[in-house]
Amino acid sequence: DAGITQSPRYKITETGRQVTLMCHQTWSHSYMFWYRQDLGHGLRLIYYSAAADITDKGEVPDGYVVSRSKTENFPLTLESATRSQTSVYFCASSESIGDNSPLHFGNGTRLTVT
């Protein structure tokens, strides 16, 4: 199926565990992003990538690690999960930058850290 898919849709983990959220897109978009959505904060950028092997921090990168070995995949890893990382995580992609290249989002992963 064409588009952007995230897995898993739901995840419960314990404090201190490592967890990886997966994101896959079939458009061959250059740019990929990870956002978290929390009540009252909207969507905040965690990390983004302009191309394979190029990643950069966003607004709230602490406690997260990303990699982009292939254009189509952009996994997000919480190395040692904390309760403050309980959130809904959205992956997005865009073809380029500019005013005709909006972000396309996946359906999200709801992560609960107990």
């Binding site: 009252g40 909207g42 969507l43 302009a50 500019g98 909006p102 396309h104």
Partner: protein, 114 residues
């Protein structure tokens, strides 16, 4: 310090009437603005955008207005339909450079009453 603010967390409108959603920003470097719509358990979907060289952009029932001097944008939906009930996020970014960092507001829940 929120650079993009949606001061109304919720809005209720009768079907057939106009819905007006507002957004204010503080960063004068922003020159591309977008609106996204989000249904429960889904990712945000792109709705409409406007670049800073324009003051209005229209797409069917949706019109976005930009007032740069006031650092204010608004989304008008006419006529409103029950299917428009969703959370609406405004977002903004500067277009200079190679980075792409969209900053989102906290969202407004629109409810269209039949």
């Amino acid at each position: 310090d929120q650079q993009v603010k949606q001061n109304s967390p919720s809005l209720s409108v009768q079907e057939g009437r106009i819905s007006i959603l507002n957004c204010d920003y503080t960063n004068s470097m922003f020159d591309y603005f977008l609106w996204y719509k989000k249904y429960p358990a889904e990712g945000p979907t792109f709705l409409i955008s406007i670049s800073s060289i324009k003051d209005k952009n229209e797409d069917g029932r949706f019109t976005v207005f930009l007032n740069k001097s006031a650092k204010h944008l608004s989304l008008h939906i006419v006529p409103s339909q029950p299917g428009d009930s969703a959370v609406y996020f405004c977002a903004a970014e500067p277009l200079s450079g190679s980075a792409r960092q969209l900053t989102f507001g906290s969202g407004t829940q629109l409810t269209v009453l039949p």
